[in-house]
Amino acid sequence: MLETLQNLYVGFSVALSPTVILYAVVGCVIGTLVGVLPGIGPLAGISLLLPATFGMDATSAIVLLAGIYYGAMYGGSTTSILMRIPGEAASVMTCIDGYAMTRKGRGGPALAIAAIGSYVAGTASIVALMLLAPPLASFALRFGPPEYFALLLLGLLALAYMSGGAIAKSLAMASLGLLLGMIGIDPMTGFFRFHYGLVELGDGIGIVPVAVGLFGLSEILLTAGQEKPPEVIKPKLADLLPSREEWRESRWPIARGTVLGFLIGIIPGSAHIIASFVSYAVERRISRHPERFGHGAIEGVAGPESANNSATSGAFVPMLALGVPSGPIPAVMLAALMVHGISPGPLLIQQQPQLFWGFIASMYVGNLVLLVLNLPLVGLFVNILRVPYPLLYPAILVFCVLGVYAVNGSVVDIWIMIAMGALGYLLRKLDFETAPIVLGVVLAPILEMSFRQSLAMSSGSYAIFFQRPIAVSMLAGGVALLSLSLLPILTRGMDWRRALGLSPNSEPEKEDEK
């Protein structure tokens, strides 16, 4: 412990040097901008700036790039809350209640809570990263294909158990998402599936066009379809900060989101997206008033926003402790380290203490910078809402198209976005939730890959899922959740209307399960 503090002291002496602080600020500013623009996510931002870091020293470079990463995680929430456009994929859940809050004139508090939640989650998860990195990293390595499959299955079942009332509806949407996720090259045999002659579909459907289409575009279509144009909400200055009650309601979701996000972040994959979904599902399930979710519950902003930020720190655990990238973004950062002649690997912490502890300390600094930078900006961003719709919506459309195109430089992605916009419009008219579709698209490739890898490992025997302790315990958890959600149906008779979630109010079912 004393040693850690000493190391941290060394780290802060690195992180508080003026150049490093400057790079942290620059990184956070760029990251926030990158996050605000839909489509251009942290990956694009980091790789664009990678060549610019060739001339810097290693610590400055990594501090700058890390600043972009967590800056983008925060920045993504801005457009989600104000316009219902996910600035990047991890902000999909924030769209739902964040935008509902904006419609009620509480956009300022939503942005403020997102900033504060991100700060708390960022800082707390760095403490965890500092103390727990080596043991946690070796745990993460024990996740092979069967463990992944069990984990993802558990995640899907948990989502079904936790979603408000309409289980059948959200499962149907998740299945649609899973089906969409099947498009592309078969990962085990190389066959093209459902590509209809388009080479661009070879790698499957991207998450960004799906998310921007289903959320942003469908919202614009819905608004255009209203008889009266919606009133322009003029935010008052007094309404920029969260009320006492909103503070109280956000406290625990932030704490839970932090822990969940960190744990999920350690496991390689699209962790920050999954973390925000799980956090939202948990908050909705344990809330005393789940019916408020989707209509502007501040917990639905606080939880997921904290979760995706602490997942960012979690993702650094395997990277720093083992030199194993846990996703595309840490992979680019590893490459950045290699450019500076540092071999990321199991010896990084011993061989480069200056870098490791400087990096940790700079993350504390960076998160503080982010908060200081963004809280005053809340007032500025909220003013976007003063722009009349006939001007605002065409501008948003342009940004959506540009952002989606920028991801892969592919026109096909724009068509996918438009198709998803139309689909989202239809589904929302019919009262379906669209978030589970995004989750399905995110999970399908990982789920399929891990399932088929497992079977390839066991030469086709399903026993492999029951022979490995981590996989078994997660499958058992999944079965338990499934039976819990079936219990009320069995004990209270088969009310098919309620089972299908057709009852207008999901409250009674909630009581059933207590």
């Binding site: 092979g144 190389g190 093209f192 030199g323 290699m338 450019v339 892969n408 430089g409 390839a456």
Partner: protein, 327 residues
Amino acid sequence: MKRTLLVMLSIYVVAVAVTQVAAQETFPNRPITIVAPFPPGGVADLTARPVAATMEKILKNPVIVANKTGAGGAVGMSFVANSKPDGYTLLMALSSISIIPEADKLFDRQPAYTMDQLVPLALISADPTILVVPTGSPWKSVKDFVADAKKRPGEISYSSSGVYGTLHMAMEMLSHAAGIKLKHIPYGGAGPAITAVLGGHQDTLASGPAAVVAHIKGGKLRPLAGWGAKRIAALPDLPTFKELGYDIEFYIWAGMFAPKGTPEPVLKKLRDVLRATVQQADFKDAMTKLETPIAYLDAPDFQKFWDKDAKMLTDAIKRIGRIEEAK
């Protein structure tokens, strides 16, 4: 009136012709784009960026890297193959450039592009793959490994960057040369494939040296042999398969291509610039840090290298054939 028109028209024609010639003489006079058909952070991207930065300095003209990803690189490669042959759209391709058309043929697909649609400019780097196992593994040498694999055909598993990917090809060549049968578990990229072996989920893999050298020095992985014609500088004690009597050679290489039909003077200029690029100290420095040795070859030699490499890969794909999963 008519005459004035005629004069003006001929002046115009001459002016256009002159400016066009001038435009060719002053190539480049607008930004050049290098397409990296893989996502940021991969070998193609990481090689393209220092190349672009150095070319920019030499040409005093912007050189941009654009990641056009999808379908294992096919999207970006066919984009360049079908773009205007004017020297402003170039390609930074990896070995997989020879794999994709052959795999398309295998599945009776309309090929996204053919190899003769592209002309080679220069080979930038070539790195032999190396065979690694976890430190806890019982195999201390290729001999141990092959002997055990012969005893238990189809039971030893290896991870790869993906089906028909470069790392899959390397292992297929080894299996064929050694007469062994291994179990292939594809992953989504080289990073996850290495993690799988580090975590003990798969038994072995062929990997580029840069990605595993740190794990070897950190005592987590043990190298058994390399696919190169010569030993690699970073691991001078590691034997090559050729030394051990297996006639196989395999490199993960990165090279620059232009669309076929690019005018000869433009090609020459690009080749000259690339030759100068690989000699710049900045560029050498960047590549050393990436642990990717520069293996420059000018177009004629690169063409020979490419033909030989493509032949090897084509044969390997034909041997693998279509993959049918055991029911």
